[in-house]
Symmetry: C2
Subunit: 173 residues, 2 copies
Amino acid sequence: MKLPVEGKAGVLQLFLFLSTLSHLTMKIEEEIIQPKFRNYHQKAVINLIFTSNWIGNLQQQFLKPFGITIQQFNILRILRGQHPRSISASAIKMRMMDKNSDVSRLLDRLEAKELVERKICPSDKRAADVLITDKGLGLLADVDKDQQAFDHVIALSDDEAQLLSDLLDKCRG
Amino acid sequence: MKLPVEGKAGVLQLFLFLSTLSHLTMKIEEEIIQPKFRNYHQKAVINLIFTSNWIGNLQQQFLKPFGITIQQFNILRILRGQHPRSISASAIKMRMMDKNSDVSRLLDRLEAKELVERKICPSDKRAADVLITDKGLGLLADVDKDQQAFDHVIALSDDEAQLLSDLLDKCRG
DNA sequence: GGTATTTAGATGTTTAAACATCTAAATATT
DNA sequence: AATATTTAGATGTTTAAACATCTAAATACC
C-alpha cells in the first residue's frame, strides 16, 4: 500500500485547500468552545483525542446492533486474521489497539457469546489457545457488509487519509 | 493563532520527509501487527484511534500523581476558563471532549476532593452553578508546570502539528 | 536437583463509563 | 389557570476499564 506519488502539485493543492475550509467544517476550537491553545502541539493533541472520541462513539453505535463492544470487535478481527490457527491471549494483547486491555475477561465475555473458543495449550499449560468460532466468523461477515460504509466516516480524500496516517505514525516517533 | 504561511516549499519538504521516515518510526501496521488495510480511510481511522489511545495512556499516567482522571482534568480546565464566573453542568458537558460524559457524578467526585463548588442557580432552580475552588486552581497551576513538557509528547514540528489539526478538523467535516 | 525468577493469564477490587429512568422546575399550549 | 412538554441534572443499574495480586507453569541459575 504505497502512495501513488502523484507529485508536488497535488499535495500543495491539498494543503492550500485545507487552509481555506474554515467556513465549511467545525473547527476544534468551536467544538469544545476553547478560544486559545498554548501552542500548535497542544491544539493537535486535543484535536486528536477529540476526533478519536468522535469516531469511537460512532463506531460504538455502529457495533451496538451486533451486540459487541469495540474491544470485543478488535479481538475478533485479530482472531480472524489468525484463523484457522490459534493464538495466545498475550499475543492478542500485543496486537490490540488498547494495549492495556483486560484480555482475560474480554475473552470470557466472547466465550459466553460462543464467538470464541479457548483451550489449554498442550505445549505450555499456562497458555491459552484461542480460536474464533464459526459463529464469530459469521458475525464479522455481517459486520463487514455494513463496514464498507463506515470506512468513509472520515471526510477525507485518499491522499489526505494517507497523509494523516503518516503524520500519526510520526507523532509516536 | 494563524499558520505562518511560509510557503509551498516548506510544506512540500515536510511531505517528502514524511515519505522517507518509514525506518525511523514504528508504523501502525507494525504496532498492531496488521499487514493489510482495506483502504487508506480504514488505515487512517485505525491509526487515529490507536494514536489517541497512546496519548491518552500517557496523559493518564501524567495526571495520576495529581489524583485526577483525564475527564476530571477536562472539567477543571473548562471551569478555569470561566473563572471567576460560574457555569452550568450542561454547559460543561457541551464543551467536553467526550460528549457522553456523566458530568453529574464527575462533579460529585471533584466536589468530594474540594476542587469545585456547586450551588443551586437562583434564577433557574433546576440548574447548578459550578465554580472551581482555589484548591482546584492550585492543582491546575501545579499541573501546568509539568504540562509544558507534555505538550511535546507528539514528535511533530509546528507546521506538522498545524497540518494534523487541520486534517482532523476536516475528518469530522 | 533445588531454589529463584520469569511468564501466562486468571481473579479481586475499585473506579468510571454507558444507558435508562426519574424528579422537579421551567416553558409552552389550550 | 390547567395541562402538557421540555429541560436540568440527579440517580439506579449494568458493563467495562484500571490496577494490584495471585497461581501455576516454564525457565534460569547455582
